[in-house]
Symmetry: C2
Subunit: 873 residues, 2 copies
């Protein structure tokens, strides 16, 4: 049997996307559903591949095309190239995997010097000649490879001659002249006349679309997106329909439900006697879709559209976005696709569809995108508002905030505490700015990436942050920001949008978070589905409470160093750091013990019944050091030494690469009294809370372990101090000791380390830094360029790098569980709140993810998505 | 059959070290060789284990001991505890694996109130009573666990009473009194008399030695050295012989060849009528062994000793170190072991033994330790000299050097170039100090580890360096060093010993390197044996020549950035770094092109016919930046900008963690014009050299690749520029493009990277830093403590960490070769010259190691050792 190279839309519905391409299969499916789709046919990907292999159309193809055209002509009662009521078609590419804009399309095919008159009869002269000049232009460009600029120049020249600015104002006479001049250009450039034979037009167009599979941008796109080169493209040939053929024609767009709110009922707009382009050009104001029923001549069409909307929702079991055209009273559906929607609408629609029995709860969970959910958890800029954008930085912590520019953390605290809305603007933030960040509405930095100090701390607080806005030039001396030639002064109001990275002049109107009961419903369905546990990173009792409200099942990371950032505490820790010997150090630690114990009691209370993982001191000590001469003088006075002595002691602590320096367990091993104090604070707090009736399960976590001996030594200290506290108090606490896996070596020797660890928590921030040899503090100078140019497929600080960092996690899981099958495994890096990374954690077989309190709902949803996509992991 | 728990020395020779312990097996072997060993027997490790399990001597053991003692008494014609001519024995532990000093020994066993008189008859009264009081003291301590301090106090009191300072001056009467008082002490402390029954003494001593297997220091030692706890210890019981029984007795030590020079002929010394301790105490001056033949009564003994020496060398096929005693004309060999020797002696002896047919060339190679060879390649401090050691730092670059203290690199250059010997003393060095290091005799730093800038650069130059001497306090203002309370001023002379880390006051006498023809012979044998290639890291034509003389088979790493440290070049590169755009940058690169081209031509000439691997620019740019205000002013003038502008531009380049910052291929991707310039310099130089008749094979190496896309982009640049140069010159050069594997991610995705790389070179310095999350610049604050406490089993910057870094290398080898079987693999980190790391490279299947020119011979030897130890890798 001869190969079947073409399928009419009506008989292609059972054929695969591989054969018909995405667009062709979709047209076939709509047609078979009984929708009034403008008729047409699909030429298969096999035909395209055969052409590309042989360099000529495969035997039989052209005859099949002719048969299909004949069928269309018969069905529509029109003729391709006919002098009256002519049939026009579009020729479009359509691969199995969408490659938007990469390949070529030709519209209005079938027009020639005769049929243009026929089209003018049906619509109007201007329109017909505009279609004709567009066809020649497109055909010349796509089929004959003539530089499009030449035609644009001629068009511009004609507009100047006619004294006209917009294309759509060109009169028919001008367009006729342009057709002549375009035809002359074609002759001149290609050596041949623009073909007046519609079938020759069609054949050449089909060949050109086949060939466009191998144009440079398509090849590049496939490389970038890992699309195989041998898929080939299908070609759809479809009858053109027009909404501008008089007062019974129209064009419009309809959503089957409100895409902003999710409310049921058709939503959209239409224009009579118009084409889709007219809506875009804004020449006339479209009407709301409700008015279709009131519009003379469209009563039946309106009913039919409602029916179709209903039918489509039932067929696709989701809200649809429908493009339609009415040609002389005949309704055509041009396209239907799942409608885009806001987070709020997504939640409502999903719940409504569950309630109507159209989908299952798991489908509702599947359809809510994590980023849509995240939208709902933060205030956002009114989507209707058109902002004056100063610059765009990194979307470092979601939510929007407006406030006066403040450059100094102290001032931010003072003003913020006084009730003013301020945005703290810094080149980059440091722990010294913490109090200012707490009191500001949001944070804007010129340097630093998605995991810079500003970003991490802001996300932890659920506070909007735009980081690394590199175009900002900040002058602290002048108290000004210069950005793209504009100067803003302290006190002027800006708005930052942490969801998009936009920095906006003035105060943008906000939409408050919409967390209704429907969100809770979907999240509870998600909880039923997911296998991964979700914990939160929280350092205070308050954060722990917030986390619990958001559904956290424990604390996965309590950073004890964040507790040191109060004024009084900073002083104490500085004394500790600058101590010259163990005795001085113990004395300095004494007051910190009191403070930390109280912090831990509050956290234990908030997490009653849930595990709390507490990490011992981690950062390089010099993070706590003074930066200014004044602070240095204070410290010198405090220590009772000369300011030069203090300066020397501080200088001795400065490191070339602090990230790879004297930090983490290296501190606890060099200065065991630090670990001793922290352990004592944890267990005294645990006993106190337990005595109050709180159920406590502390998990002590040792950071930056590279070798099992480090963990062994620190574990000995923890066990020893825990026993002392139990002896002193007569109480016993169930506790665990484990470690961060945040260095490549730790992952590689995880079997050895597991012998000393009851749990692993992957610190994927540091693991990413060391695996890539990439400092997140310094990456701003090239990482954005790398991500933009896809040198790195993703920003590895945002989404876990599965090939590298992920491979180490997998090695550690395998070796760790091999040595200790009951080993508990979690992740507490920033990735714990990133949906793609959560999926990875699910696949890697971790027990839980831990993220900032405000990301907990997102992580719950993402974990459910992962479980739905990979039920066997 | 009853278990055999004991073996006479004469019938134990076929038994294993596991059963008899190292010492016991050795005594048995010597006895069976026909050597006159004082007779005795060994109690097996099985007996010890049986005792330790059961808590009592196993059945049959004691009877076997009695039988062995009876045999000894018969053989020697003596009786244990006899009133005349008494038999005395030693009881010693001896495990299968040597644990020196960890377990207990008892000498002179068999003495009691009667036999002491018998011993006095044989030797003299003083000696006999001294032996007796020693026995009681040792027995009390080892068997009865009485604190040894008590006896020392009594001894001191007696010395005071007798008005005597040295033990050996105590008269017999005093010793008799001490024996009485020691016995009283034993009674008082243990509740029982010191046993007068020699067999009871023996039984208790055997049990005590058994039990010493489980004393605390032995357990700790086994833990530290990974020795299994269930080996148990054997016990040797051996007849005591004495060299102090009159004028026909003597004691001595003999080497079968000269251990300093390796010259043939017996070498050593002896004392008549003396014990080994007398030699140590220095009471009398021993005579050279040659005089033994002239000494009355020793003619026969001398001949016998020469015969034995010869016999032992033939038996052990190596130079022996023999302890002997002559008791009343009868020669006994107490011990023989392979003699320690200098590097020079090792080489000569090995060659002589090959020439005499006693060993094969492979044996000669095996016996030369890499560190002995290294000694030969550098001047060293006269081993006879006793230096006044100021402090000890890290042995960062071998060789010794003396010179005046200089604190400033400019001064070091000026003075050094003027012919003065100076030692550059810095807190730590930076690229700015390079010119000073070149002109100094050696370098001493207070900070930094084995792979600090000072250490790496000094090793590269083959210049002595002591790094990280933490006790040094350097005051640049006062131009003084303070160390342990001593103050040295600029201009005073010190000596540094880069082989041991010693810093010595004054000029120590030196021994010049002794690289005779024998070294070359052994190295050529090594070359026949090794599988690994050996290349050198060299950045100049001069270094390349040196490397080739030392036997390098190519350049494994040419660091292009080292070429930038000349004055004029530094200026040019600073202009390049501070350029504001691509045009400025290209202009700044122009003069660098000329300079680099000339450098490469010289290197290609030196390596005619051998491959040269050139790495594109690697370090963080700010390494080249100015540090002082003067330099800043110069640059500002040079750039024609205000000094504040220059300062801001410099400040913008400062990084938090430069090691993880904008460096390596990230520079070449951000600023392609840098890679373009360097590639052009390489290929223009290659063409020029080829036109001169030089055979060139450039290998262009891209640093710090984390993702294959980085390599792809840089490779495209290299290939493009290479083609242009070929087009311009009409020449073609065979070249290769590859990458460093120095980030964990690169190792993990080595299969992807191999698609773009013709070779991998493991940069294990950076790979160690990232795998451990450990900055070598900052590690000085805790790494020495870590290594000392064995928290890390080795300093991973000195010896490759096989479990972590090595695991990544193995992963990369497997994945890389899996994707591209012909992939060439090498290592160019500092580890390339470390013998243990070279062994790892052999095992991992690499093709070559590359190290500093001066380490090339060591690497050749180490590679041969690895091939001998693991012939199948």
């Amino acid at each position: 049997m001869a190969t079947k190279w073409t399928y009419g839309f009506a008989d292609g519905s059972a054929k695969s996307v591989e054969l018909l391409g995405g667009k062709g299969a979709n047209l076939a499916e709509m047609t078979s559903t009984g929708l009034p789709v403008p008729p047409g046919f699909v030429i298969t990907t096999e035909a395209s591949n055969a052409y590309l292999d042989a360099g000529e159309l495969p035997p039989g193809l052209w005859q099949q095309v002719l048969d299909q055209v004949a069928r269309l002509e018969e069905e529509r009662g029109q003729k391709l190239g006919g002098a009256s009521n002519p049939l026009l078609v579009s020729v479009r590419s359509g691969a199995a995997i969408s490659m938007p804009g990469m390949m070529d399309t030709i519209l209005n095919l079938g027009l020639n010097d005769e049929s243009v008159a026929g089209l003018a009869e049906l619509a109007d002269e201007r329109f017909a000649w505009d279609c004709y000049r567009r066809l020649i232009q497109m055909f010349a460009n796509v089929v004959l490879s003539i530089d499009g600029e030449i035609f644009e120049d001629e068009l511009d020249a004609e507009k100047r001659r006619a004294g006209i600015i917009n294309d759509q104002d060109l009169p028919a006479e001008s367009l006729m002249k342009l057709v002549d001049s375009f035809k002359a250009t074609v002759k001149e450039q290609s050596g041949a006349e623009f073909s007046q034979d519609p079938l020759e037009q069609l054949k050449l167009a089909i060949i050109a679309v086949f060939a466009s599979w191998n144009n440079r941008r398509a090849i590049h796109y496939r490389q970038q997106n890992n699309i195989p080169d041998d898929l080939g493209t299908a070609v759809s040939v479809q009858t053109m329909v027009f909404g501008n053929m008089g007062e019974t024609s129209a064009t419009g767009v309809a959503f089957t439900r409100n895409p902003s709110t999710g409310a049921p009922g058709l939503f959209g707009e239409f224009l009579t006697n118009a084409q889709g382009e007219d809506v875009v050009a804004g020449v006339r104001t479209p009407l709301e879709i409700d008015h279709l029923a009131d519009t003379a001549g469209f009563e039946v069409v309106s009913r039919r559209l409602h029916d179709i909307a209903n039918q489509l929702e039932h067929h696709y079991r989701d809200m649809q976005d429908i493009e339609f055209t009415v040609q002389r009273g005949e309704l055509f559906v041009l396209q239907t696709r799942t409608g885009k929607r806001t987070g709020q609408a997504a939640v409502r629609i999903a719940c409504d569809l569950v309630d109507s029995g159209l989908i299952q709860p798991a489908d509702a969970v599947k359809r809510l995108e994590p980023e849509q959910l995240d939208q709902l958890l933060h205030p956002m800029i009114d989507p209707e508002f058109e902002p004056d954008i100063l610059t765009t930085g990194l979307p470092a912590s979601p939510g929007a905030a407006a406030g006066e520019i403040v450059f100094d953390a102290d001032e931010a605290k003072r003003r913020g505490d006084a009730g003013d809305a301020v945005i703290l603007v810094r080149r980059e933030t440091s722990p010294d700015d913490f109090h200012g960040m707490v009191s500001a509405q949001g944070v804007l930095t010129a340097r630093g990436g998605m995991t810079s100090h500003a970003a991490v701390v802001a996300r932890g607080m659920g506070k909007p942050c735009v980081a690394g806005a590199g175009e900002l030039e900040i002058s602290h001396a002048d108290k000004t920001i210069t950005v793209n030639g504009r100067v803003l002064t302290a006190g002027e109001v800006i708005t930052i949008d942490g969801a998009t990275g936009r920095v906006i002049d003035g105060a943008a109107p906000m939409v408050e978070p919409q967390v209704g009961g429907d969100v809770a419903r979907i999240l509870s369905w998600a909880d039923d589905i997911r296998r991964l546990g979700v914990r939160a990173n929280a350092d205070t009792g308050h954060d722990a409470e917030v986390a619990r409200e958001f559904g956290a099942q424990g604390i996965g990371l309590c950073r004890t160093e964040h507790m040191f950032f109060g004024d009084e505490r900073l002083e104490a820790i500085r004394r500790m750091i600058l101590a010259q010997d163990s005795t001085e150090r113990r004395a300095a630690l004494e007051p910190l013990l009191e403070m930390q114990r109280q912090d831990f009691v509050e956290i234990f209370r908030a997490m009653d019944g849930l595990p709390v993982t507490i990490r011992t001191l981690d950062p390089p000590l010099h993070e706590f050091l003074p930066h200014t001469d004044e602070e240095l003088q204070e410290i010198a006075t405090d220590l009772g030494v000369d300011v030069d002595v203090a300066r020397n002691r501080v200088a001795a602590l400065v490191e070339t690469n602090p990230m790879l320096g004297h930090r983490g367990c290296r501190l606890g091993i060099s200065f065991p009294e630090i670990t001793e104090m922290q352990t004592r604070a944890i267990f005294e707090a645990a006993v106190q809370a337990q005595n109050e009736g709180v159920a406590v399960t502390p998990e002590v976590m040792i950071p930056l372990v590279a070798d099992v001996n480090e963990l062994r030594l620190q574990r000995e200290t923890v066990d020893r101090i825990a026993s002392s506290v139990f002896d002193e108090t007569g109480a016993t606490i169930d506790y665990h000791v484990g470690t961060m896996i945040e260095l490549p070596r730790a992952a590689l020797v995880a079997d050895q380390i597991a012998a000393q660890a009851e749990f692993f928590s992957f610190g994927t921030n540091d693991l990413t830094q060391t695996t890539y040899g990439l400092s997140r503090d310094d990456s701003g100078r090239f990482l954005p360029m790398y991500v933009e140019r896809k040198i790195y497929p993703v920003d590895p600080f945002v989404t876990i790098d599965r090939d590298g960092v992920g491979a180490l996690v997998e090695i550690a899981v395998e070796r760790g569980r091999g040595a200790r099958p009951e080993l508990k495994l979690g992740i507490c890096g920033e990735h714990g709140g990133d949906p793609d990374s959560v999926e990875f954690c699910h696949l890697a077989g971790l027990d839980y993810v831990s993220c900032s309190p405000y990301r907990v709902p997102v992580a719950r949803l993402a974990a459910a998505h992962a479980a739905l996509a990979f039920p066997d992991s």
